[in-house]
Symmetry: C2
Subunit: 767 residues, 2 copies
């Protein structure tokens, strides 16, 4: 049992390390040489140039202005000054709403903390149960519910507070949902024209022997959306080409590296070995080698480009279909096209930069199977991940290594190395796994076949949350791996489980306080230091950078990392809500986390992170849903705890809470979730009307022409792959190759293939 | 433990009673006087007239043709002869697909029965575990899994069969889903024009101080669906008027009754007392009294009709909006209209006769609360219904009655009456509850606010199924009321529950065999006899019928009663799937039920039931879902059973089944459910195009004008309440009362209210 003194020491250490991080940051950010590490966002925006204060050469690298060091926390108010509207236009709605998660945390927990300290702490403190029991206990336990005697009437205070906290949390959530929904709608209604407002992603276009995918799509939409269809963009399977481009870039980097080396030391031409990892094979001149490699890849690339244009097999059965108006696109995206719901699937096109191209070609029948496989795999990952790690750990001990590589025995037996292996190696397998976990989860989400980066991140985030819930939260409380928990859940009765967990909760408060300080405080302070990007930037800057453009590319602004950061915030919501009634002493630590994280991330969003996509806060429903989950978990655990405290008669009173919370969630879902999923026709019509009145002659087709081409085609050969390639989009009367069937509209087996036989009738109607 | 002899006796009794019912039916249906009871469907269709074989007077009432009695089962082949397409056009798709539920049962269980008898029965029979144990057992138990020794290798046979049965069931379900979906699509695509194909139900039209609901709706849709909007029909709150009409009809019935009485016995004018239930108050002349009553009601009715037309408060904030094309309606029904998802809610209009008018005015914010209340109420009804019944039963004993009404004591103490009360009264409370249950569930569904009769019936059916599952299936197996079960579920661990239930399953086989015979065989045979409608028809015929029209109204054809009948079929699916592996001896009894029920209901659907609405088989997804539920339950219970039989190592092998079944369900849901929820645009466009080509000048507006008026307005004053009342629907340029705001399109707080200020712009664009 940790005493307040222990906590104090721990807090001091963590505050100290946080302060060191912040000081280091304050120092490093002022050095001009690090400018691109700490302010990349501004470089990307083009409003900041590499520092070139006239003056001395050294000034380019080191800041000699002593006064600026004195105000080493000046970034904090600066980070808070930018108003929200400016933030949205500077960094996008996603970033602004992401910051609101921290704000929501503050809004929920500041009043709860005050109330808990005013009401619950005195109620808990003025007992002497723990002293009477003569068990070992700390002062923190005296502040917690553990200090209330069995069956006491004082539990009424906790019960009331459980109600108050629930209603307050729900109220804040409701308000926030409303605010975010309004922000999203305002953002979507904002004046800027965007290609995705007019475009629908169509997947699973059924194959047709007579027509190409492009023709098929055009005919289908000309028939079924005659007044609205504008143009379309077929999707090419350019995965191989993308790989070539990536390889070329790698080679180019090596070439730059050796050229720089040669320039700096002109006396000796650098050489390289052609074999595996540059360690084996014959020695050749490095510059020549890489130049010829690049030429080879360029040739292959050109061939591949030719092939993509010519080979119809490289056209994916998907297309981006654009409409004349937002209304037309909104209609198409929200309706079912054919009677077979597995073909001609329409959904809103993601933003061009948000598209995850690799998954566009997956047929829908595979999706169910893929999801099943991933669900099973995730189940095992969640509950059984300890098994392979234990296996690796069993190998990674002294005896295991000595057996596997006997010739290393003399080295391993050296005392220093031996103690290192014994003390460090077992943990390293787990550490590597935890570092790799977000990537594993992202890989799983990719297998599931989602088509936009934003939805991939959302999916990974929910997987990560589940993992944290079982393997950090519950595992710490009942001190068992998720696998052992699974045993418990299967073998214990439904009303025993919350009791088992609930009883252990007050005892783990000190552990979680330490956790919040290490993971929350120091972790967030570490985030602002950006140690890894700092090192990598300087390495690249030294070895690779030749031109200003190279330097641009050497910057790694990173992004918010919704898939791994949001679940971690959610863990704090969970801890806060669970401990609010039980051990209010934990709440201030969480408050500090929220404040610190809010400031730090606001700074990072303004100065560092580069937004990868704009989903217009599409993630809020899952953020909301997870806070609701945390609330219900906290209610059930509190119920379990109270029923072991001789307050079993409170169970029905407390059971009301989860039921009401669940229906509150349903209400919110009905009321606000559509704003994140659908696109109302009224809004679409309003924007269309306004825009037509303002810019009557706007050429939408040209505007949309190259919006949705694969990034590897960007720039050089837009025209070749763009929507304009068929040059016949203006012809409303479509020429079809199926002359024989032209005037006999018999229903064909294939749903899509009948479409082209009908445009004549449609056009007769319209003329 | 019942032996095969006991089962034989029980079977003989039930078969005998079924045969008696069938014979009685065969006799009664041949009597011309009963013609309207057994063939009302044909009268309603107008293809059958009251029997008037020339000949003798007696022939009108009694069938004297002796030969017809010999072929007393001749209705059976007749019922089977009508081909499915004809059946669909005769009785609707709902009825035809309803019959497919029985067919599905046969398709699933015939091969399963054969396989189980070929494989499992020999495997079970050739053991002597039960004899070795020397426990009391019957021959049926020797055929069941109970006869396999603990930990035997023979369980592999059962395991394999569990897999085979699962895959067969899934295969049949998949095929049936596909067939039904195709039938539905073909039905919807069939040539007949129907008002609901063009119409969308709009709910929660936000109030506006300047315009009436009708104007508001017109303006909104003219702006947001300018090319497609045709006309609309406001909904009046005519609940009071409907009550008046109902009351008038009752008075008319009494008037008819007394007039007939007077005609038959002209010597004495009938009198009636005006007080409560005709028992108290002053005596008046009956004919005069009811004539004046009817006059009074007619006056009130006329006033009410006037009021409805004039009072804007009696206009419900909902409207039926019709479009020029199916395409336009499909678009509007499937999209969100405004950014506030709680106003301007659109959904497909139900068929006119399917509309449940009373619920059209419920605001959407109430719906969540109503659902919460009903969910809680249903939870208590399901698990706690025994409590009030036990309370009533405790009152309904001798002492209770004697205390309540002491003056009855001498009568009650009479031995005959006493034994009657003791033996009968306690059961009667339960019986009354069970008879009332479907009505209670329907009432609950109505409170939930659904707007069509078909969806009300579907909702009630799922409630009833849950009730049957807990209170008949599980209550019979573990022999506890649902309340006691709830205790078990809460106090037992998750893997103990299927074990507890699984172990009890083989022991209850004989009970369920008897249940199938009583409830299934005799019940279905009783259904065809239609005893209650028979009696009521003859009573009405004698007392009320004056004209041919009265006789028409005295017929009570009834309908399938999806809400109470379908869950009962599902119980047989559940029993069949659960016992298929455990006690295959039960399967033939279920087969007999399915065959008998199929023939009987096919006969009833052809000759008796009057279809109340046409939902185009919208209920199939829930039928499918419940069979899947039954399958998963059977798998889990079998898993629990095996784990107590020393075959615990089979658990992982069996756990695969529910997971795969669940994902099979998800696959089916993705693949086929949209066909029951959405309306594909391609189909809509195809029908529109064909229809326009065939009937270019069709006046859709007149056709739709009176389709969606409240049934109480039907006939007499169509024009007054129909869509044409405003006479300005053709004006595309809408005159609005808000002159001041007309040219200033500032976004107003209310989402709906901005709409009318924009048509000018829209029209400029279109001209």
């Amino acid at each position: 049992m940790a005493t307040i003194q222990d906590i104090g020491v721990s807090a001091a250490i963590n505050i100290l390390s946080a302060v060191i991080f912040l000081l280091a940051f304050a120092f490093l950010r002022l050095q001009p040489i690090n400018d691109r590490v700490y302010f990349p966002k501004w470089y990307l925006k083009g409003t900041r140039q590499s520092p070139s204060h006239g003056g001395a050469f050294v000034r380019k690298f080191v800041n000699l202005d002593m006064r600026s060091y004195l105000k080493f926390l000046s970034w904090m108010p600066a980070a808070l000054q930018m108003p929200e509207d400016e933030l949205i236009s500077h960094a996008g709605l996603d970033s602004a709403v992401y910051l609101r998660i921290y704000l929501t945390g503050l809004k929920i927990f500041v009043p709860i903390t005050i109330l808990a300290f005013l009401v619950l702490v005195p109620v808990n403190w003025t007992n002497d149960t723990l002293e009477g029991l003569k068990v070992e206990h700390s002062d923190i336990d005296k502040l917690s519910i553990s200090n209330i005697p069995f069956g006491s009437k004082r539990f009424i205070a906790h019960l009331t507070m459980a109600y108050v906290f629930t209603f307050w949390t729900c109220y804040v959530l409701l308000r926030e949902y409303e605010i975010v929904a309004t922000m999203r709608l305002r953002f979507l209604a904002s004046e800027k024209r965007r290609p995705d407002q007019f475009t629908v992603l169509v997947r699973n276009i059924p194959p047709d022997p007579d027509e190409s995918i492009g023709e098929l799509a055009e005919h289908f939409f000309l028939v079924n959306h005659p007044d609205h269809y504008l143009t379309h963009q077929v999707v090419y399977n350019a995965n191989k080409l993308a790989n070539l481009v990536k390889e070329k870039k790698k080679m180019q980097n090596w070439l730059d590296f050796y050229q720089l080396k040669y320039e700096r030391n002109a006396s000796k031409r650098p050489t390289v070995k052609t074999g595996f990892l540059g360690c084996f094979g014959s020695k050749v001149d490095a510059v020549e080698h890489y130049t010829s490699e690049i030429e080879r890849i360029e040739k292959e690339e050109a061939e591949e480009r030719e092939k993509i244009v010519k080979d119809p097999k490289l056209v994916v059965p998907a297309a981006f279909v654009s409409f004349r108006s937002r209304w037309g696109a909104a209609v198409c995206a929200q309706t079912q096209q054919t009677s077979n719901p597995t073909v001609w699937l329409t959904e809103w096109a993601p933003e061009p930069r948000d598209v995850y191209w690799d998954n566009l070609s997956i047929p829908i029948v595979h999706l169910t199977v893929r999801r099943l496989i991933i669900a099973v795999a995730f189940f095992f990952l969640n509950f059984f991940y300890v098994i392979p790690i234990a296996f690796v750990q069993s190998l990674a001990n002294i005896e295991g290594i000595e057996k596997a590589v006997p010739f290393l025995k003399p080295i391993i037996e050296m005392p220093a190395i031996k103690s290192f292996i014994q003390g460090f190696l077992p943990g390293i397998a787990l550490k590597i796994f935890l570092i790799l976990l977000p990537s594993i989860l992202m890989f799983m989400s990719k297998v599931e076949g989602l088509t936009s980066v934003s939805s991939l991140e959302r999916r990974s985030a929910s997987k990560y949350y589940i993992f944290l819930f079982f393997n950090v939260f519950l595992a710490s409380i009942i001190a068992g791996s998720a696998l052992e928990q699974l045993q418990t859940y299967l073998h214990q009765s439904a009303n025993q489980i919350p009791r088992t967990i609930g009883v252990a909760i007050p005892m783990k408060a000190t552990f979680f306080i330490t956790y919040v300080m290490v993971d929350g405080w120091a972790g967030v302070a570490g985030e602002i230091l950006r140690l890894k990007p700092l090192v990598i930037f300087h390495l690249k800057n030294f070895f690779l950078v030749k031109t200003e453009k190279d330097r641009e590319e050497a910057m790694d602004p990173g992004s918010i990392g919704f898939d791994s950061n949001e679940p971690q915030i959610q863990l704090y919501f969970l801890l806060g809500l669970v401990y609010a009634v039980v051990t209010p002493f934990l709440l201030p630590f969480i408050l500090v986390f929220f404040v610190l994280a809010y400031v730090v991330y606001r700074h990072q969003i303004i100065n560092v992170y580069n937004q990868e996509y704009e989903s217009a806060a599409a993630f809020w429903p899952s953020v909301h849903g997870r806070i609701i989950t945390a609330l219900i978990v906290s209610q059930l655990l509190f119920l379990g705890l109270l029923s072991t405290k001789g307050a079993g008669q409170s169970t029905p009173v407390l059971l009301v809470l989860p039921v009401v919370t669940f229906y509150f969630h349903k209400y919110c879902k009905n009321r606000y979730e559509p704003a994140f999923v659908e696109y109302p026709l009224q809004e679409a019509m309003r924007k269309d009307t306004l825009e037509r009145a303002r810019e009557p002659g706007f050429d939408l087709k040209t505007y949309l022409a190259s919006a949705y081409i694969h990034p590897v085609f960007k720039g050089e050969d837009d025209e070749k792959f763009s929507m304009m390639d068929e040059g016949e989009a203006d012809q409303v009367l479509v020429a079809t190759k199926r002359q024989s069937r032209r005037n006999t509209p018999v229903p064909s087996r294939n749903n899509g293939s009948e479409a082209p036989s009908m445009p004549e009738i449609v056009n007769d109607q319209r003329l």
